[in-house]
Subunit: 292 residues, 4 copies
Amino acid sequence: MNVAFIGLGKMGIGMAHNLLRAGHKLTIYNRTPGKAAELEAAGARSARTPEEAAAGAEIAFSMLADDRAVEAVVFGKNGLAAGLSEKAIHASSSTISIALSKQLDSEHASRGQRYVSAPVFGRPEAAEAKKLLVILGGKSDEVDAVQPLAEAIGRQTFVVGAEAWQANALKLAGNFMIGSMLESFAEAFALMRKANVDVHDFLAVMLELFGSPVYRTYGTNAADRNFDPAGFALRLGLKDVSLVLDAGRELQAPMPIASVVRDQLTAAMAHGQGELDLSSLSLVAARNAGLD
Amino acid sequence: MNVAFIGLGKMGIGMAHNLLRAGHKLTIYNRTPGKAAELEAAGARSARTPEEAAAGAEIAFSMLADDRAVEAVVFGKNGLAAGLSEKAIHASSSTISIALSKQLDSEHASRGQRYVSAPVFGRPEAAEAKKLLVILGGKSDEVDAVQPLAEAIGRQTFVVGAEAWQANALKLAGNFMIGSMLESFAEAFALMRKANVDVHDFLAVMLELFGSPVYRTYGTNAADRNFDPAGFALRLGLKDVSLVLDAGRELQAPMPIASVVRDQLTAAMAHGQGELDLSSLSLVAARNAGLD
Amino acid sequence: MNVAFIGLGKMGIGMAHNLLRAGHKLTIYNRTPGKAAELEAAGARSARTPEEAAAGAEIAFSMLADDRAVEAVVFGKNGLAAGLSEKAIHASSSTISIALSKQLDSEHASRGQRYVSAPVFGRPEAAEAKKLLVILGGKSDEVDAVQPLAEAIGRQTFVVGAEAWQANALKLAGNFMIGSMLESFAEAFALMRKANVDVHDFLAVMLELFGSPVYRTYGTNAADRNFDPAGFALRLGLKDVSLVLDAGRELQAPMPIASVVRDQLTAAMAHGQGELDLSSLSLVAARNAGLD
Amino acid sequence: MNVAFIGLGKMGIGMAHNLLRAGHKLTIYNRTPGKAAELEAAGARSARTPEEAAAGAEIAFSMLADDRAVEAVVFGKNGLAAGLSEKAIHASSSTISIALSKQLDSEHASRGQRYVSAPVFGRPEAAEAKKLLVILGGKSDEVDAVQPLAEAIGRQTFVVGAEAWQANALKLAGNFMIGSMLESFAEAFALMRKANVDVHDFLAVMLELFGSPVYRTYGTNAADRNFDPAGFALRLGLKDVSLVLDAGRELQAPMPIASVVRDQLTAAMAHGQGELDLSSLSLVAARNAGLD
């Protein structure tokens, strides 16, 4: 299939590789061109603009940092929307707001283009290893068309609703679950330290109790203070929990734990932790307990 | 070994069975005698009071609902402390406050008795199947003496500190992690329902993402509204999160997520959910979202 | 002075009257023309568009519901910005986001126009009675120019910063103080009811203790369940607390109580209270306590 | 009337003085005797134990720091309960738990003694100046008997319920209102500082808006960082908000703002602020915003 891929960050680069490995013809675009080299070596063709990348693609993926980046890439000058053919599909994998997802849906429709939400769960290692979980939202024809590509980048695909934005809502709720776990670890770690219990002892019990690789990854990062370089930057975690709270406001569902996570992440930002790993959230509870 | 076991509730019954199966000589006591029959059939001897049960035991386990029950059984008339021999060990598996654990420590010491905290993680099925995680806190001699019995009732044992109460602190922090997970599910489920996403779809993604049996058990109970009979009664969950907050106050470690969980559990109590399963906590977020 | 006034809602109508009473020449505009009649009777001239209203004005006030309304009135077709003369001042009294205030500042500057933030505290009765508190933010020349009009609509004027958006930040923080007071009343009232203490008895003590007319107005509304018609609609309270949290995120200042207020207001929205008075927030705490 | 007064702390000393000024015959007791001298000079008689102080009194007031102190003074060796005559009344002005108030009620009843809750609102200056608000709870006969003394120590008396503990519930709810106001100021101040708005400017607007002397006292303390010596020690504020949350748990009324205040006060304790004035709570929000 002719596929475009726009956004070669930590996540996008692995996803693009796996699309190539699955035998698709890939045209890539990134704002900063450096990252394209290894993909070109693997057979991808580089485009100079999103518009050029999207032209000729049956499906154009985008994987970008936030709403603003998606708006710029899709609707900006020489944007994806300008290049995408009628009937071609924009598969948006970025973690974005419900509001923007709805807007993408209607704007693409108004151009005769099609739109699928395809957010993913997993960190960069999982993207590289084709272990992402891919969530698909959209009309069933569009979803069916994207499914083979979803299978090329992930270990499992979930179809969750006929409206594209529902996939975004699910993605945001899932990221909230991770943020909540991290803040819970943070509070428990602080308590353990004040009780003179080694946080690694506590972590060992929790890993045995929960038996979860996600707990292992984030819990170990937090216990080892392995914050830099970031697997997932804290400022993006704040972006996500803010989006889930926006969703909660829009859908009229209060989320008090999400509010706590947002408050604590804001404190982390105020202490200059924006570019550290999300697991550095644990420093906030520690500081409030008078530690460090 | 001569072992006493006091408290044959949902958890205690399985633990006592496994002590018998491991070949120990078991004397049992329960406030309501009915539950003793099956253990007697398996070889246990019933005592009429905690004092009588503890007399002659090298190690006396207690597994009771809360601080008040432990105080009554240990220090009440014909209590465990009155019967326990010098040098014999009280192994307390109940989820109790740090304050009571410290008091047990000093009171037993003043009688020449010894004390180990031995709280456990796991639901009644795990107790039955010898799959508990056992946390041991206390002086190393005492802990060494209890270790074989811990291995008889659990799948893994963790020694966490030279002070018995440290094991209680860890147990409370662990229960907090479960309570936090449940409230997080509750909020995410409410959001999903307002987004017209099936909570079972969301749950399926979370189970694949986290890969945790604990998420499976509680998440499925919450999604299926499988609240009655309770595996773990909601009112006990409120007791535990209140204890962890008391610990946080005592140790000067703020725990804002624990506070949210406590608030929501209090709302659940106000709606008559005290005897439902802890996973019915999800009803609070649903109600606040205008659902049901 | 030639003054324009755009936005004749509950607040604007009183402010406009007081500008007339102070002897200014007033041109008015409202999206729904009905409200203009009484002002015309008092000497105001009606314009057909914001552009027309602003044309010829030395100072053009706007008093609108939210960011969206301000954007539409100022930058929309036939908008205020199109009509305002060079050097003329837009005095924005709406409760808006810091982000929009900054944008207004730069957009007006780019047109050679001037901009002052002039948010107010007070309910419609206070607007009518010239009892508003007026907060002025902006460069000192602009602020000096607006000051006489501020004095015509309020009982006291406060100049708070050389950047217009600082006045908006202060206004949002002040509305947060009111929202926090209301949720505190809500929780205390629920506790009192569960304790069989009459909320009016509790209120009487609080009114004597705090001695505050604001406590009297909102506390009495809440105790008397005087929610309809709304003096200040609950949905606008949610807008404001969301804006203060956005400000907190932007400025990196966590506000956990604001988060609680937002969560509770969201629950109120989910129960259809958006058009009731803000004091109906008290119903949320009552419901969570199992009351009503 | 023959009156006993036990507890000559910052509050008690002023109350005792006013009872003397009203012409009552006063017997006083304090754990540390130094404070008695000025009252003796004004005509009071010192007793060596609470028992001795209570003997012969028609009404015995107690004004102590917390539950533990009340238990010690009332039920300890040579305690108030041992000395109080049948039919005589214990008027308890301490801010204590509902649970202890109920226990005092039943214990006094079992001795043929009578019991009234008489908690007060006001800081030491108000106690000195006879400006306290006195809340009375208990059976109407007992309340009637205490009323003249309540009038001697306060500017207004409120009778709130036939059960003594209801007055304690109201007192706790009132202290919660003050704690909530302080944390709200703390968050708003932090936001203002991040917005480069002088907190005194913000405070000036709030004082004009709310018009409340309580806002003036606490808000000014917080803005001026006037924390030492403490008018009301922060650790006592934590005690009070913990008691109100215990009451909320007991009465099944969730209080999420009280939870936030408790969390923040716990953070303040962890930073060594226990003996500073309650208004130093504002340091927590400031620290979390990266200030100071």
